[in-house]
């Protein structure tokens, strides 16, 4: 088991190293001088030279890469050209809406999808099952920003049930800020519930035909207990993996949904950074988000190892 954990840690470090390399390459794909691009067409030549030196762009590409890796390893993600602040600080300032939007949508997606998946599997082939499969497919076909725009109009602007947009202003209380995330989270949760419905259903179908479920039934146990205690508990494991994997989907959805609801999160930060050519921010955000994804999925694997005795890799 220790060997497995060590292997997984090593694998994770290699993947993180590739993530860092990919990010380094992407930013250097831009044709022309990144320093000149960042400062715009009106920049003074001496400013461009100064920025090139500051970013190390005047050095050979290998030296640039080693410097980049060294900086990342020591937790230095560079400085935002626009904000004139360390990138990690800028990301930290914008992280709250994105983190809570992602968390709330996972909660909403799971609480919609898991019961639907269970009932669907139980009544496999029935009307409910067919309806839920079609519904899941439809949900997965709707662009989240489009659904956001429609619900924003009808539920927020017209009906007044939710705040229309924004994050409640600079002095807003925590509760007020979270209130602004309810509608965006519903949008993102519904759209992303599709994958979890399908996985819960498939995983339940697998488990429901297992011997121990038949044994539980033959002992005269109530159906409710069989399904929830015996079957669902074991079907949960693949479902947890999918919830981990939806993290990347949700971040993608959050980037676009934030724009619909004018939330000052990571999504709007990146889009702003692209329009302002603030490469260190684009690069830093990619690193943080992809890094988090790798670490979260590693931790989920470790949780398995702890809770599921069948996992003996």
């Amino acid at each position: 088991m220790l060997r497995y954990i060590l292997n997984r840690v090593l694998g994770m470090i290699i993947v993180l190293a590739i993530v860092v390399t990919v990010v380094f390459v992407i930013v250097r794909l831009a044709p022309g001088d990144p320093a000149a691009l960042m400062l715009g067409p009106d920049a003074m030549p001496e400013d461009v030279v100064e920025l090139r030196a500051r970013l190390g762009l005047d050095q050979p590409i290998i030296a640039q890469f080693l410097r980049f890796v060294g900086q990342i390893a020591s937790g230095d993600f560079g400085e935002s050209i626009f904000f004139d602040l360390p990138v990690l600080e800028v990301i930290g300032q914008r992280a709250e809406p994105t983190i809570f939007l992602t968390l709330f949508s996972i909660l909403i997606a799971t609480s919609i999808a898991v019961p639907i998946g269970i009932v669907s599997a139980y009544y496999r082939g029935g009307l409910f099952d067919q309806g839920s499969i079609s519904g899941a497919m439809l949900a997965a076909s709707i662009p989240s920003f489009w659904m956001g725009l429609i619900l924003q109009q009808y539920l927020a602007t017209d009906a007044g049930w939710f705040p229309v947009s924004g994050y409640g202003g600079p002095d807003a209380s925590f509760a007020d800020r979270m209130g602004h995330l309810v509608l965006p989270s519903i949008v993102l949760g519904v759209v992303n519930s599709a994958l979890i419905i399908r996985f819960t259903r498939a995983s339940m179908l697998d488990v429901l035909s297992d011997d121990y479920v038949r044994t539980a039934r033959s002992k005269g146990m109530s159906e409710r207990r069989v399904v929830l205690r015996h079957a669902f508990k074991n079907a949960l494991i693949p479902v947890v993996t999918v919830i981990g994997l939806t993290f990347a989907l949700l971040i993608s959805g959050a980037v676009v949904t934030e724009r619909v609801f004018n939330l000052p999160g990571i999504g709007s930060l990146v889009v702003g950074a692209v329009l302002r050519r603030d490469y260190p921010v684009i690069q830093g955000t990619l690193l943080v988000v992809a890094g988090l994804y790798v670490v979260i999925n590693f931790l989920i694997d470790m949780v398995y190892l702890a809770i599921d005795p069948r996992v003996r890799y």
Binding site: I18, L29, P143, W146, Q153, V274, L275, I282, A290
Partner: protein, 286 residues
């Protein structure tokens, strides 16, 4: 042997199309939208960019079938023309991502030495949320139509590569591949004729989904204003332009949005039906 397996698969693909009503319906809807886009100049009642300030924001019905926008342009005509770009991005990405993905997947699955590095590369690429990676790539490459397709292909190629690699690992060990090796068939020949031919149907299923994801992603990029040039009508840019008029002229976002949903849904129905038909084990589970 490989040829006959492949022929059997091709037969089954045709049978799937005929027998599975869902696949057929999905493909018919998609074909109608695609034909409308291809023959846009014949079908569209107006030039997509023809402005008529006098007729701005006219509701659907009457002179404009699906209404007009803030410049008095016909929404129906624009939606048909926009379909050309949106579908091109979807199709282009599906094809290019398949090319990259097949190359990576075959190499990783067939050559043990390359498997480790390629698998880690796939893992690393899949750690990036698709829109975020696409935004960064488009920002670096520039926002032309081809660059959007290239960026989305880089984003989705790892998904294809993962499936191709897994299948190649299995097929590599089959007796007929061993036999081909023993007969001295060259490696490129084995890769193309014995392995690739046998994963074509799986590849088509994956490419169908990538087609759908790419259309959603393109719409997202255009909505954020970081996709293709905003003056090019795509369904995403139409929604982005129409958002200022939600509540007063809902048709400006409803029409392009419905077009996206219809296309993506029909692709998903077709992809799902194909997958179920080609893999009876999955048909039972999913």
């Amino acid at each position: 042997m490989a040829a006959s397996v492949s022929a059997a698969m091709q037969v089954s693909l045709w049978q799937v199309l005929i027998q599975r009503r869902s696949v057929l319906i999905g493909l018919i809807i998609l074909a109608i939208i695609a034909l409308a886009a291809i023959f846009a100049p014949l079908i569209a009642p107006y030039e997509p960019n023809a402005m008529s300030i006098r007729d701005r924001l006219t509701p659907p019905g009457g002179q404009f079938l699906l209404g007009s926008d803030e410049f008095g342009r016909d929404v129906f005509s624009r939606a048909i023309y926009a379909g050309r770009v949106s579908l091109s991005v979807g199709l282009g990405t599906a094809v290019l991502a398949s090319l990259f993905g097949v190359l990576l997947g075959l190499l990783g699955g067939f050559f043990r030495r390359l498997d480790g590095p390629i698998s880690r590369l796939i893992d690393a690429m899949m750690a990036f949320p698709d829109i975020l990676l696409a935004i960064a790539l488009v920002a670096a490459l520039g926002g032309s139509l081809f660059n959007v397709i290239l960026a989305l292909s880089i984003v989705y190629a790892p998904r294809i590569a993962r499936v191709v690699r897994a299948s190649t690992l299995v097929i590599r060990e089959l007796p007929y591949v061993e036999a081909a090796k023993a007969l001295g068939v060259s490696t490129p020949n084995i890769l193309v004729h014995h392995i690739l031919r046998n994963i074509v149907s799986q590849l088509i299923v994956q490419a169908t989904f990538i087609f759908a994801y790419a259309m959603l992603a393109e719409a997202g990029l255009s909505f954020l204003g970081v996709g293709v040039d905003p003056s090019t009508p795509t369904w995403g840019t139409m929604i982005n332009a129409g958002r200022a008029f939600v509540g007063t002229a809902d048709w400006l976002i409803l029409v392009p949005g419905a077009a996206i949903v219809l296309c993506v849904l029909s692709l998903q129905i077709a992809g799902d039906g194909l997958r179920d038909a080609l893999d009876p084990r999955l048909a039972k589970e999913v």
